[in-house]
């Protein structure tokens, strides 16, 4: 067989390439920093990382509206797709990275974890997340998943030799490797059933795949369910989130989850629409389990990081509702995208406040440490209350709009029972979210609050976006709809 050179348009993968290349560049510069200049180097690395993210952001925004692919093989199929779906998700990932840098600079310095590697690893992880949204080939999905995960394993162990951080890294690594195994097995079976790893090719061949294709799809789903922490594949989440340094927890609670959903959505919608009547009910059941377990277990958590870990499991459940209704509702994918966008700001804001209260690594993260926060720092307490309301889904917040669109899509898809489960569990979640508000405003306590300017501005920005998404969700949902439409069109056209 004659080998043909694939067509490559480097501008299209530039967003991910800039982020990864910037990380490599920073690592190289670090080699030439003398011992005396190390202190200054540590001061400027966060800023430099932000510059890299900003460059990638400019390139990403410029690609909005573009629809095409690159690394086009001889048979005309691109390995990497750049459409609004990918661009929308890339914007989420870049914002996640930027917000994480803003809230973690002072925290890392304060807790003695200030290592320049943190920012470089984060850049590598972000480039992996971006590739998750753009990958149009199962092999590339796997590579992107590893590029996303491996830096996160190291980052969760950043606080070594503290045992809880080491435990977190070890558990995350073992279960991450385990879930990668499921994913690779799923890819192998799908390849066996259809003879290709390209997503459009898989779609064409899946109808004749028989039980082999079903088994492959099931294993792919299990692999992604691990990554997004859906019940019953959620066991690692509370321990990992609790043990990892809080800045890392904030980053992976949004980035890794959205990354998992990015690849899951593209594979389900582009490659496996033929099996929609099989995976949609399976995901619906998974989603109901996730909602119930996540929200109910969160009720009894005295540690706020652990509570937010269960809360993030619960939010994976809400996104799964939207994914499960995607085959039958035109707004399923856009509801999931909008929900992730709103979740990004509410969750990052909540973690920013957690970081402000935390004294040393993992000290001052109990609910009791929030007593009397309203008297100590009213602004942060009000912001935290707003984020908690948003995560509960009380109007007028971004969280409410997100849940509204998700439930609307579910009703359109005739998943009434799932909507009822979602609404009831939202009501349950009010108990543990509002308990934080009660503790802050109604009880007395003392303790220091470390809120430098960067963190305050980040919290303010997150409050602003959450409020805007709550008051005028319409235009934003239209953007999410544009991002999702192209994914669906490719199904019809492919």
């Amino acid at each position: 067989m004659e080998f043909q050179v694939p067509t490559i348009n480097i501008l299209l993968i530039a967003p991910a390439a800039i982020v990864a290349g910037w990380g490599v560049l920073l690592m190289l510069i670090e080699l030439f920093i003398s011992d005396e200049a190390q202190e200054q180097w540590r001061q400027i690395v966060p800023g430099l990382a932000l510059v890299g993210l900003a460059l990638a952001f400019i390139q990403t925004v410029g690609l909005w509206g573009y629809d095409g692919g690159t690394f086009i093989l001889a048979d005309g199929h691109p390995m990497i797709v750049v459409d609004n779906f990918a661009t929308f998700l890339n914007i989420i990932f870049l914002l996640t990275g930027a917000l994480t840098i803003f809230i973690s600079v002072d925290f890392l310095r304060r807790t003695g974890l200030e290592r320049p590697e943190f920012y470089m690893l984060m850049l590598f992880s972000i480039s992996g997340m971006m590739l998750m949204g753009m990958a149009n080939d199962l092999i590339l999905v796997f590579l992107a998943l590893e590029l996303l995960s491996i830096p996160l394993y190291i980052m969760s162990g950043l606080a070594w030799p503290r045992t809880d951080s080491e435990e977190s890294a070890m558990k995350y690594f073992l279960l991450g490797a385990f879930s990668s195994g499921f994913l690779v097995y799923g890819i192998a079976l799908t390849y066996g059933a259809t003879g290709t790893t390209q997503l459009p090719g898989v779609m064409a061949g899946i109808a004749n795949g028989g039980s082999l294709a079903l088994a492959g799809a099931a294993l792919l789903l299990v692999g992604f369910a691990f990554k997004v922490a859906a019940v019953p594949f959620h066991m690692w989440t509370p321990d990992v989130y609790q043990g990892a340094p809080t800045a890392v927890t904030a980053f992976m609670s949004v980035g890794a989850k959205v990354g998992g959903f990015a690849a899951m959505l593209r594979i389900l919608i582009i490659a496996l629409p033929g099996l929609g009547d099989v995976w949609a009910p399976a995901l619906a059941v998974l989603s109901a389990l996730t909602l119930i377990v996540g929200n109910v277990v969160a009720l009894v958590q005295p540690n706020i990081k652990r509570m937010l870990a269960y809360s993030s499991i619960a939010h994976a459940g809400y996104i799964l509702i939207a994914v499960a209704s995607a085959p039958a509702s035109p707004d399923g994918v856009s509801a999931a995208l909008f929900y992730m966008f709103a979740y990004l700001f509410s969750n990052m804001g909540a973690f920013a406040v957690v970081i402000a209260i935390e004294r040393k690594t993992n000290e001052g993260v109990m609910l009791d440490d929030y007593k009397g926060l309203a008297k100590r720092h009213l602004g942060l307490a009000l912001a935290m209350a707003f984020f908690m309301l948003s995560l509960t889904g009380v109007p007028p917040t971004g969280g409410f709009s997100g849940k509204f669109f998700v439930f609307k899509a579910a009703i359109e898809a005739n998943l009434i029972w799932l909507t009822i489960v979602g609404v009831i569990t939202s009501a349950i979640s009010g108990y543990y979210y509002l308990r934080v508000v009660y503790t802050m405003f109604m009880q007395d306590g003392d303790g220091e609050v470390a809120a430098p300017e960067a963190l305050k501005w980040t919290v303010g920005f997150a409050v602003l976006v959450t409020a805007v998404l709550g008051f005028i969700p319409g235009p934003w949902f239209d953007i999410a709809r544009q991002a999702a439409l192209q994914g669906m069109q490719m199904v019809a056209g492919g």
Binding site: F3, V5, M27, L31
Partner: protein, 122 residues
């Protein structure tokens, strides 16, 4: 056609069956038929050999671990180089450039490892 594939794999299944049979049979035989001796010396890991000293679980110098991690990197590097070398003529310049980019990134990583002192033994 499916049956044909299954028949092709029959020898492997037979082999698996025989090995499982013997793996179970031999310990059972030696447990039931072998003479029982309770002396402490007979139960030592090396009977009539050196006396074991210390615990089985002990700390190892972490240097070995780092070398092992580096070995995996070079190992994977070779795994990728060999198929490229085999298909070198077919892939032509495109393959050369792709491999160059990969090798440059890999060597930069090596430089980082070297400069960070991972290769120093003491």
């Amino acid at each position: 056609m499916d049956n044909q594939i299954l028949i092709d794999y029959l020898p492997i299944a037979v082999l698996l069956g025989i090995s499982i049979f013997f793996a179970v049979l031999l310990p059972v035989l030696s447990l039931t038929l072998g003479p029982k001796q309770g002396a402490k010396r007979n139960l030592a890991p090396y009977e009539s050999g050196m006396t074991a000293i210390g615990e089985a679980q002990r700390r190892l110098p972490v240097k070995f671990y780092r070398i092992a991690v580096l070995f995996i990197l070079f190992d994977v590097d070779i795994i990728l180089l060999v198929p490229w070398a085999v298909t070198f003529r077919k892939l032509g310049l495109y393959g050369l450039y792709a491999m160059l980019i990969f090798m440059v990134i890999f060597i930069l990583g090596d430089a980082w490892v070297w400069k960070k002192g991972v290769l120093e033994w003491d």
